[in-house]
Symmetry: C2
Subunit: 347 residues, 2 copies
DNA sequence: CGTTATCATGGTAACGGTATCATGATACCG
DNA sequence: CGGTATCATGATACCGTTACCATGATAACG
């Protein structure tokens, strides 16, 4: 492969002048600029970013560390991140932690070694060690989707508490009193915030919060399935389910189907996070939609801003609103309901 | 940040010895190994991969260039790629081309400059220029999901022709004679292979292939929507639709709904590629499922094998079978049909 | 005992760019 | 006309690691 020196020799200039042409820098005479471009074309020269990075300390690479791209929510986040980063001249390294703190740390080690310019992190747990690690190595960081307690870092997340509150309030207004809550794991802020919203809605309506109706566990279809079996065995039986995660709602549906319970006739179901394709084919779940693309975009923009002006300033917490979409799974749509119902589809 | 020299000084050895310890190389005395590890811990030393890459010519980075991660099919491919690469000590850069040749070339330029160790490419079009470009720069390549004419490169794809043939044959056996074909763009092998399978099924059944029933266009929901409007206007009206892409099928559903046509009562619909969540909630489309995860995995394994033994050998073409899953959208399930029907769900 | 294999360590020179500083030519100014 | 701003170019050193080669100590061997 040709190097910058080969190009320089061929164009009859110094390597530095070639560097200047490549980077559109400084002052280079038209004559020399032309000759350098010619030489580059003739030699098929391609600059070596690795060498450049070693000297300049910038890799033009970001990392997106999340739990699982297969979740349509994170898929959309990823698309937002990649589009935005790409437009700004950055490439994105993708990492799936599967909610494992150990996996996450392995990835972070590698990313620090690779000298990535910045990290977008959906933390596996809310423990602040990983965040401290990143910060110790002075790598810009934006935390995405989840809060980390005791961490001083930029964070972008959806309004979990508010969304959950609205969903459960809706169920209550539909006449439900016994509402089970299928929550994600303790220690993950989105899960805990959603439980908090659930509690507030019940409390505000004067309904007693019963611990036996709330279950915690990993975000997964299997968990939703098992929790639903247990929740439906609690007497008196709940008339509605609030699932704190899209995949858990799917597991719940499966369990209900096996019990020959109809949704929404026998049990109403609401959940968090959209299932984009379900929405397109047979919209079904009433849910709180987080602005996934916007979240990825915003987070990346924030990160990029950090890269340019490194001056220390207040960490920001951007909370984007969730949108309630009413569909069949919750029963009769309430036409004049006070939520921002933008869609009320399907017979 | 501490460098390898700082560690060496502190441990009282030479930098090379430190390098050997880090890379588990060669012969290093237990005594020195211990002291180096101590020094590393005390200094919080982290090796600089950029410098290593510059010298060793290896970046431990792969690139996955695809059209759109938001398509659940590619999401799953990406997950397969990332899992496999990560296990082998590689990180993955993700690139979305949106089916644009220009975007694709932009990404490839960057990736070559970044000296990625290998590229997994879902080509935007079947023109071989991009492939030539990659090969000119001696970067290992595996083409994914689509064939590129005139390109000598490893390729991993699903059996589009066979899958389409089976789907259309199924429609014919259900009694359909007028079947519209909503195809992806000309010049994309998956689209053309599927049209070929469609043609073969009709021909084998003695049904004339009518050009007016076949439409070509970009893989998108909008295209599926518009094509369906036109296809349904052709007299005599088709009784079934074959969509060559999952998103196009969704567009088709939307168009049919607006025309107040019921599926499958008025029009049967089949399509390519699963919609995973639709499958989990209300399985609906009869379709040919490509083994997306396996494809990503296989492709990455192949690529990695290329990285180690660089000896030139025959390009491989691995064709993975598709699986036909019968669901409601095609009408009455055929119990004793000769396809590998693994699932026949939902009342 | 001399020769050779194995173990252990280090010196030197890259890898391919760019940061920094220096130098010279020309234009402009009061 | 001397001094300064702007334009244009280059020499040198260095970013942090490892490839390559050399050297010495010890063990093994005929």
């Amino acid at each position: 492969m040709a190097t910058i020196r080969d190009v320089a020799k061929r164009a009859g200039v110094s390597p530095i002048t070639v560097s200047r042409v490549i980077n559109n820098f400084d002052y280079v005479s038209e004559e020399n600029r032309r000759r350098v471009h010619e030489a580059i074309a003739e030699l098929g020269y391609v600059p070596n970013t690795v060498a450049r990075s070693l000297r300049s300390k910038r890799t033009n690479t970001l990392a997106l560390v999340l739990t699982d791209v297969s979740n349509p929510f994170f898929t959309t986040v990823a698309r937002g991140v990649e589009d935005t980063a790409s437009k700004a001249g950055y490439t994105v390294i993708l990492c799936n932690t599967d909610e494992s703190e150990a996996e996450q740390q392995k990835y972070l080690d590698v990313l620090i070694q690779k000298q990535v310019d910045g990290i977008l992190l959906v933390p596996a747990t809310s423990s602040p060690e990983s965040v401290r690690f990143i910060q110790k190595h002075a790598t810009p960081l934006v935390i995405l989707d989840r809060r980390v307690v005791g961490a001083e870092a930029d964070t972008v997340l959806g309004d979990s508490e508010g969304g959950a509150h609205e969903l459960v309030k809706l169920l209550i207004e539909l006449g439900h009193q016994r509402i089970a809550c299928l929550s994600g794991p303790r220690g993950v802020s989105t899960a805990e915030d959603r439980v908090a919203g659930y509690r507030r809605a019940l409390t505000e309506a004067g309904i007693r919060v019963e611990a036996k109706r709330i279950s915690y566990g990993p975000f997964s279809r299997r968990t939703g399935y098992e929790m639903t079996q247990r929740a439906m065995a609690v007497q008196p039986r709940p008339t509605a389910l609030f699932a704190g995660h899209n995949f858990m709602a799917i597991g719940a549906m499966q369990a209900l189907r096996e019990m020959e319970m109809r949704v929404p006739e026998d049990v109403a179901v609401v959940c968090f996070d959209d299932l984009p394709l379900d929405f397109l084919t047979v919209p079904f779940f009433t849910m709180a939609a987080q602005p996934a693309y916007e979240m990825g975009k915003k987070a990346t923009e924030l990160l990029l801003a950090r890269l340019v002006d490194e001056g220390p300033h207040e960490p920001q917490e951007i909370v984007l609103p969730t949108e309630i979409v009413i569909r069949r799974s919750s029963g009769d749509p309430l036409v004049n309901h006070n939520v921002k119902a933008s869609v009320a589809v399907e017979p």
